[in-house]
Subunit: 343 residues, 3 copies
Amino acid sequence: MSGVQATHTLAELAKRFALELRGDGGVSIDGVATLAAAQSTQIGFLANPRYRGELATTQAAAVILRAEDVEHFARAALVAKDPYVAYAKIAALFERQPASARGIHPSAVIAADAQISASASIGPFCVVEAGARIGDGAVLGPHCHVGMDCHVGAQSRLVARVTLVARVRLGKRVLVHPGAVLGADGFGLAFDADRWIKVPQLGGVVVGDDCEIGANTTIDRGTLEDTVLEEDVRLDNQIQIAHNVRIGAHTAMAGCSAVAGSAKIGRWCLIGGGAGVLGHLEIADKVTITSMALVTHSIHEPGEYSSGTPIQDNRNWRRNAARFKHLDELNRRVQALEKDAKP
Amino acid sequence: MSGVQATHTLAELAKRFALELRGDGGVSIDGVATLAAAQSTQIGFLANPRYRGELATTQAAAVILRAEDVEHFARAALVAKDPYVAYAKIAALFERQPASARGIHPSAVIAADAQISASASIGPFCVVEAGARIGDGAVLGPHCHVGMDCHVGAQSRLVARVTLVARVRLGKRVLVHPGAVLGADGFGLAFDADRWIKVPQLGGVVVGDDCEIGANTTIDRGTLEDTVLEEDVRLDNQIQIAHNVRIGAHTAMAGCSAVAGSAKIGRWCLIGGGAGVLGHLEIADKVTITSMALVTHSIHEPGEYSSGTPIQDNRNWRRNAARFKHLDELNRRVQALEKDAKP
Amino acid sequence: MSGVQATHTLAELAKRFALELRGDGGVSIDGVATLAAAQSTQIGFLANPRYRGELATTQAAAVILRAEDVEHFARAALVAKDPYVAYAKIAALFERQPASARGIHPSAVIAADAQISASASIGPFCVVEAGARIGDGAVLGPHCHVGMDCHVGAQSRLVARVTLVARVRLGKRVLVHPGAVLGADGFGLAFDADRWIKVPQLGGVVVGDDCEIGANTTIDRGTLEDTVLEEDVRLDNQIQIAHNVRIGAHTAMAGCSAVAGSAKIGRWCLIGGGAGVLGHLEIADKVTITSMALVTHSIHEPGEYSSGTPIQDNRNWRRNAARFKHLDELNRRVQALEKDAKP
């Protein structure tokens, strides 16, 4: 463990993150908190103007805020263009990480030809198979499994119990949370007379630098070529990425969303929780899909897209849902009325 | 293993669970079953009046039933106000549990400062990290990982391959099924100019007494404060609980449902399978959400809520769905007709 | 690892898979690829007539195609009735599998009374509990857990980190991907006055021959009887199968779909990604459910079924969705107009 709690002066934080200091730079900070919960040794932040009123009552030693809010706070402050970004950077100083002893835990099972950097850390009960490479400063927490021909880039971290099945190449600074499975067989089947036969999955998975992959998320390897995440893709928990999918740089997907085989998603997209994208579609850059929507055709224009119906009390919903089953007929009835109404 | 199959007399069961005995208390029972499948040494139960007819044909040695059904069964019976509850309690006597040898399996890796009760059981290939505490009678099955500063309360059971990442506090008698990940990083991101930066997740997860957490379910730790499950919350498999969520006591959620960040769900709620709750919403006590509904605004009144459309054969569905895209226009056409119709 | 890359002549492939050889049988093949990506030592395939144009430009040494396409390709070919099936079979020759040394890895923990075939392979950090049986040629990759009274049939393969909790019986040639959990407690609860009590789950899980079970998929064991997958059932990743479900032979389910308790699904069904089936329903043979549809009543006729609404840009969707909340009222307004319109 990182041991004792860190302490930083305001002046030090201002310098480190290029923020403007207002007031006493000698104020000592030992943590971050919301304005409402902050104690007198912590720094708070005002990112959403809705909470401006809390500046008057917060116990925080100092606050991170925008220039236009400085006048509302009587004590020391750090002025940021984007206080949420500044808060995120400062908060990182106060995060305790479990210790990761350099080197290989004696319980780990390592293939003879695996290449492991001397500065990497391999935790208890890890298995590293033939042809694998683990880069400088990379960390494998307990119970990780780096399969055949998989690469873990420098400074990447498999938090714990991550499985890379085969031909998975992670870039640098990739963060993978527990339970994630990368490089399992894509779901490839052919129907042979009266039963399924398996279509071998000969491709791999390529994950770009700075990607993050959530707990219990699955990314299948490609059929002939690779499944690809470009750099800085951010996947939440329990996401399913099927074989041959390509996800553009800086796209973020919320929990339980899924992308079917061979779909291509653009850059800077936001995919809402539980949303689905059918196979072989293309989605342009800067597209937002709202939660639990299903994308059934390619989307060529940036913008926000949705499907589904609003939530209602069950009684009213039942009545409306029953009418949905006859919506086409209702349209025809209106057409008939329109025809009659015309002179 | 618990070894030999248990046997209990009806009189013993009646006394133990405060049920009324009708008929021969000496009848010996070695298992529970449905009326249809029961053998002559097993006890059946009649919870749903729909199956009353099976009382005449069942081979069961005895039946658990309501007072008003006693007349329909000729042999020995246990009379219960709620036969399903009585059945559940009796069935528990016949459940075989894998043996959990007291003490720490020699393969387990335990941090020097972890506090482990002498009556706890730590299975093979477990990892218990710094600052962790394992309470009296707690059981960790194989491949469990109790991370930094995590607590497992007395009599709690991590069935197998459960990961508690950091700052997770489980109450007493909590049951966690395989593949569950508690305390992983919440999905916190800030957009810094042209790429994502990570918002540190400094909070933890608090799970109340008697909670149950299903296989491959994920519960992220909070950003600044904790993600909280109050007591007796029951989560099925593959559920996603995001950071800072609070779930009220006695709420049950079915498989594949999900709750986005900072949402608050009341007590005695029932959330259907695959349902979703958007972030920062509040749901009152005693709210039922039907399967695959999406909650897009706060719900302040108890009751049942739904969204979605009914399933139909694809041809009709396509026609109706196409009309949905013009529903607002259809409404305007009807308005026009109404206007014309008025004198 | 299987070591060097395999090489096969066209004549050899034709004979082995009963395909018709056109042209030079001595052509040597060292891999499979799409027509677009194939190198001069690989074999391509034409399954979809849409790509026929690529026959003219492909670098492939040979192509698998239908008889009617032979005239469009100038070099050697294998003629197949179903080129996709032929390709799948040929591709399997080029798939490298990680080595699975016969016998039990020294780190594995095996119960004294477990029965393990001498030709089985048990990987590092596996746990095999009391009453378990592992059949001939079966493979357990790293971190697998075969619980109490579980059976793994001959030639079955648990790729890695698979958990069979209790009373799970896998047939022959079953393939289970990492993170899958079979045989966890079904979600059985009874409400006892003011809190939940657990309904013991005394049944097991039976999985037929040739089934495939995806990464992080969960299949709960039955309450009193078994949860059953008949032969050749194919489950993709992150699927949830609740207790007492029965799935008919040759049915395939795509990722993130879910089946609630006691539902029965027929044979040769196709269940789309993210689709749900409510509890206690029956679905006939040869039913297709489209992605993210919710099956709320039994389906007795083969065919394709859907629910949901089409995706739209958010602005139009909001307008239409708002009208959905008054669809029953709209219907009544149209009825009123129809009444007025009638003489």
